[in-house]
């Protein structure tokens, strides 16, 4: 069985996987990091978004072996000793979630957005969310949360 060796949330991980094992399976089933969700399995919903080498990707559409030698960050890594990441805090403050299923992917996508685009405006945020679906909120509060989180991250 092939071995994958990578860094997950700052921790070195070596694991036996199959060729077909998806990154999200390694995270959820192998590492018990169940914050990353699987919403569609057809590469569309973005519930599975994590960062690989600093970029937001859909972990359901990447083989674990493709992440060999990479740095992976999941939703579990972003709070700092119990203190919410500014983007998480903004989602809480602005009611950017209802059931919370899409939220880990939304937050990881939002942080990636801020990393790439310093001055976000509402229209840009709406476009940038094309790969993240929410069945509950109607997006309005998610957009407000991301705009606020973006300001907080940069202050």
């Amino acid at each position: 069985m092939p071995t994958v060796s990578l860094t997950i949330n700052g921790k070195k991980v070596v694991a036996d996987v199959e060729g077909r094992t998806l990154l999200v399976q390694l995270l959820r089933e192998g590492q018990r990091l169940t914050g990353t969700h699987v919403g569609c399995d057809t590469s569309q919903c973005g519930a599975c978004v994590v960062h690989v080498n600093g970029k937001a990707v859909k972990s359901c559409t990447m083989l674990a072996l493709q992440a060999d030698d990479s740095e992976v960050e999941t939703i579990e890594s972003i709070a700092n000793e119990g203190e919410l990441h500014p983007m998480q805090a903004a989602f809480k403050e602005h009611h950017g979630l209802q059931c919370g299923f899409c939220t880990p992917g939304m937050v990881m996508a939002a942080i990636d957005m801020v990393n790439r685009i310093p001055n976000l405006d509402e229209e840009t945020v709406r476009h940038e969310l094309e790969g993240n679906f929410c069945r509950c909120t109607g997006y309005h509060n998610i957009v407000q949360a991301i705009l606020a989180g973006s300001k907080a991250m940069q202050s």
């Binding site: 399995d41 057809t42 569309q44 559409t61 072996l65 493709q66 940038e128």
Partner: protein, 266 residues
Amino acid sequence: MYDFAYHRPDNLDDAANILKINPEATVLAGGMTLIPTLKLRLANPSDVVDLSAIDSLNVLSVAGEKVSVGAMTTHSDVSTSKELMETIPGLSRLAKGIGDPHVRHRGTIGGSVANNDPAADYPAAVLALNASVNTISRTINADEFFTGQFATVLEEHEIITSIDFPIPRRSAYEKFSNPASRYAIVGVMVADTEAGVRVAVTGAGPSVFRVAKMEEALSNDFSADAIAGITLSADDLNSDIHASSEYRAHLVSVMAMRAVNSALTQ
């Protein structure tokens, strides 16, 4: 997904060898089309050859009158490349409109062109800009490359290495996207090139195609008005739950006029 053996060679020779020894092997680029296909068990390769460690496939360079884009260049890298924004802004804008940010971080130009999805964006750019597709064994002109729905002249296991785009005087792409998937219901790339004005349409038919009547009209007068009266017959166009063939025919004219206008303002 059926299981397979995974390989990540760091040079083209090794990749070609693995493919040669394993007739049922397949190439993996960004995986944004292949992995969903494998998940649905629509393909069952014995081996998967990941091209991501081959550095020579991930180079974007401007040399003289052309821009060469390595096959493994991601949509995100194409959309943010300074060189491209200065030379072929129409191409970087096209890449920015593919799928969503996460798809753009992984998906590659080589994978998109090899796949020739009837609703994909890049085939319109390759054809309109009169690009050439370089493979491990030859160079193929855009006019010969795309042969039909999900079909190209590529031989089994022929790896695309890069795509050369001659720098046009001006060009632009406009698409009417499917609001859910972002794929093109109709996309039109218009380019004013050394080889004349070229108009390529994706999404509307089984495979990307050129529109001679529009090209002629635009060669005489590069303005949206020049093609205002030109409409395609709906007969050979796609019809599905998203749009009828008549609607697609109408959209081709509208998108072509928008593309001319945006080429003029770039």
